[in-house]
């Protein structure tokens, strides 16, 4: 297993190298000049030329790429053209917000989606099954932008139960250590910030968790239905095992593999930035930041984030593959 993990980690290097070339070239193939985007409508030719020179945008492409890769190898992702700030600092400031939101959204998705899928499968064609499946279909089809605004309007504006935007009330002071509000609240023993942070998390986590929740529910149901038809389940029942044990210990464990695969993909998607949710709830994560950077042709940010997100995806995939072996003893990695 260890050698397998090392091999997979080593395979990250050529993948990231390939991604760096593709992103570098594609960004420069699309029309639009970052220097002009930065300088804006008021720009003089001299303004624009100075910016091109500052960021080396006037040099030949191969030279730009070699300079870029030399920096990457030194652990320097470069500076944003727009804000002129180090990209590693920007990621450090924004990624914790996305991580916190993604983890909570997944928590919501799992806590609701998994039991809903299991119960739907065991009570096939019941009222619960039909309701859950129609609900999950709605969850998949509902535009997240609309759902977010509705949740916001109903729970924050109409009822006033939950805050409408951001991660923490401005009146609350919290010492930032990891920039994860929940973790920092616990580490500093700040119960007020902990409660306030949780309240702020609820609406965006529900909005962001809706689609994964629906996918997990449907996937769990279909995997469970397939497993529940197997002979060994009939045998387990014939042995006189109670239905809960048959479902959880015998059926669910075997049905989990496809669910874990989907879960892994969802984790990757969520961590790479939930643009709409972050936009509606003014959540200061990486999603919207990356989107705006693409629009303004902020090459260093897009390149740096592409590498960062690719690494995240590959690591999550690796964890998913490793977890197969933990769930299914038949799977062995040499």
């Amino acid at each position: 297993m260890t050698s397998y993990i090392i091999r997979r980690l080593l395979s990250l290097i050529p993948t990231l190298f390939g991604v760096s070339i593709i992103v570098f070239l594609f960004l420069r193939m699309i029309p639009g000049d970052p220097a002009l985007a930065l300088a804006g409508e008021h720009a003089t030719e001299e303004n624009v030329e100075r910016i091109r020179e500052e960021f080396g945008l006037n040099k030949p492409l191969p030279e730009q790429y070699v300079t870029y890769m030399a920096k990457i190898l030194r652990g320097d992702l470069g500076r944003s053209i727009l804000s002129r700030r180090p990209i590693t600092d920007e990621i450090r400031a924004r990624f914790p917000a996305t991580l916190e939101l993604s983890v909570c959204a997944l928590f919501v998705a799992l806590v609701v989606g998994l039991p809903a899928g299991i119960i739907s499968a065991t009570k096939r064609n019941s009222v619960f099954d039909n309701t859950a499946m129609v609900g999950s279909l709605l969850g998949i089809s509902m535009p997240i932008f609309w759902l977010g605004l509705m949740l916001n309007w109903f729970f924050a504006v109409r009822l006033g139960w939950l805050p409408s935007v951001t991660r923490l009330d401005s009146a609350i002071e919290l010492q930032r250590i990891t920039n994860l509000i929940i973790v920092d609240s616990i580490l500093t023993g700040n119960a007020e910030a902990l409660l306030n942070g949780i309240k702020h998390l609820i609406l965006p986590a529900v909005a962001l968790g809706t689609i994964p929740m629906a996918i997990i529910a449907r996937m769990t149901r279909s995997a469970m239905l397939e497993v529940l038809e197997q002979d060994y389940i009939r045998t387990a029942r014939a042995k006189g095992l109670v239905e809960r044990v048959v479902t959880v210990r015998h059926a669910l464990k075997n049905a989990l593999l496809p669910v874990i695969t989907i879960l892994g993909l969802q984790v990757g998607v969520l961590l790479s930035g939930a643009v709409l949710t972050e936009t509606i709830f003014a959540w200061p994560g990486i999603g919207r930041w990356l989107y705006l950077s693409i629009l303004s042709r902020d090459y260093p940010i897009v390149q740096g984030m592409a590498l960062f997100i690719t690494s995240l995806f590959l690591i999550v995939n690796l964890l998913v593959d490793v977890s197969y072996a933990l769930v299914d003893p038949r799977i062995r990695y040499e």
Binding site: D33, S170, A171, W289
Partner: protein
Amino acid sequence: MFRNSRVWSALVVLGVVLGLALSSCAPAAPPAPEEMVDFIFAQGADVTKTDPTDVTDGESIRVCNQLYDGLVRFEPGKTTVEPNLATEWTTSDDGLMWEFKLREDVKFHDGTDFNAEAVVYNAMRQLDPDHPEHTGVFEYWEYMFGGFLGDVDDDGNPTCVVKSVEAVDEYTVRFNMNRPLGPFIQDMAMFYMYQISPTALKEQGENYGLPAYTPAGTGPFKFVEWVEGDHLTLERYDDYHGEVAKVNRVIIRIIPDNAARYLALQAGDIHGMGFPNPDDVPNCEADENCQVLLRPPNTTAFINIMTDREPWDDVRVRKALSLAIDKQAIVDSLYGGLGVVANQFVPPSLWGHDPNQEDFGYDPDEAKRLLQEAGVEEGFTFDFWYMPNPRPYYPVPEDIAEAIASYWADVGLNPQLKTEDWSTYLDDRNAGVFDIWMIGWTGDNGDPDNFFCYFVCLPKPKEGNWNTEKAQQAIDLLLQAQALSSQAEREPLYQQAAGLVHEDVPRLFIAHNETALLFNADVRGFVPSPLGEEFYNSVYFEE
């Protein structure tokens, strides 16, 4: 992992116990809300820097307006200039020297003294590329003053209007000029001439203005913290030389989505916001808990025409395009009534605007006649370009473009609507790719030169290559006005130039729009400025 439900139960219980334990050992509660009065304003994007000399975006400038002062400032709500860190100023008859007398009771937020040496240090930092703290791009200095020390034009003349800056005594500073610049005093009120503590600049070097570093100005609020992408907190500067702030803190919240920002206002999570969706303005007006304040117009939306290409080189065709558009209907329906029809570059809120100038009006029959007279065939097809994203002067560019295209179709033309992403749009505009395109301007310094000479003084593709006889006459007037420092002498020159533009129709002026700001109903003392130069020390809440 599902075998032992007791483990899960134990974890849940542990979590609850831990939570309760943390609650009991939490630090003392922060001051009660009634003791701390915060003014929370939401904007759509994060601040890029808190260094006023090196920013160009409105979001950063909003914060800098609270942290810093200039030697002079724009009067709240106006475009005229009044004393600030300087108590008085004089200029030589030839306009080659400006002298400012400084206040003697001012300290920067870091406790260091504000004096003439500080002003010289700040100016030389931008002017001199060899200055140790010349670490930014200083785009506005370059744009407004023409360059830096050592920059020369093709004839070897210095491009920068500022020649040198010197301290005459501890509280008198002198700017020596290479040539007179009419709008100089207006430029001195702008954010890029705000005063920064030299000590802070030396200590922080190129990091000055970044989130983890503490900026030091002389403004009514001091910097507290900047949580990136989330908020900035500023606190009242009790030793402020002017009107001390009525609120304890100003918090600038970052809420990117317009609708979400309005929901946050309705929910009471913020007290004020900019850039609402046009539909939310009447909603706010109808809500007793909400109020709308309007910034006087400081924008001009227009359509640029490549005046040296057929058939647009015929003034009758250009005039016909203008006559075909019902601009008042566009202002009423697509600007939500927040604005006025434009007939010249300079908006009515600025001096230099000619109130006697009349628009051509809406006359489709006359437009048809002129097109026929100029030989433009029925169904003439051309590309009409519009920007993909809202701009301050075009809040809904696609809708406005569709309306204009339909007016032109009514007089027998066949415009094809085209767009592309914003940076490519600017690129293609500069390269002269477009024949007819939508663009506009937001004023920088309240001076008509800023609305005029930029577009007209040097004929170039991005400005439609307007280079006719009338254009040359207008250029002469504008350059003459630029070299004068008396507003009374300059104003008629701009008005004459506006007349020449009107006669030759190199632009189709559409609208000067007002910008709406939304607030909770109890917010008082906020003075909207046409230039966006708003100072939050006057803000308070009605009891």
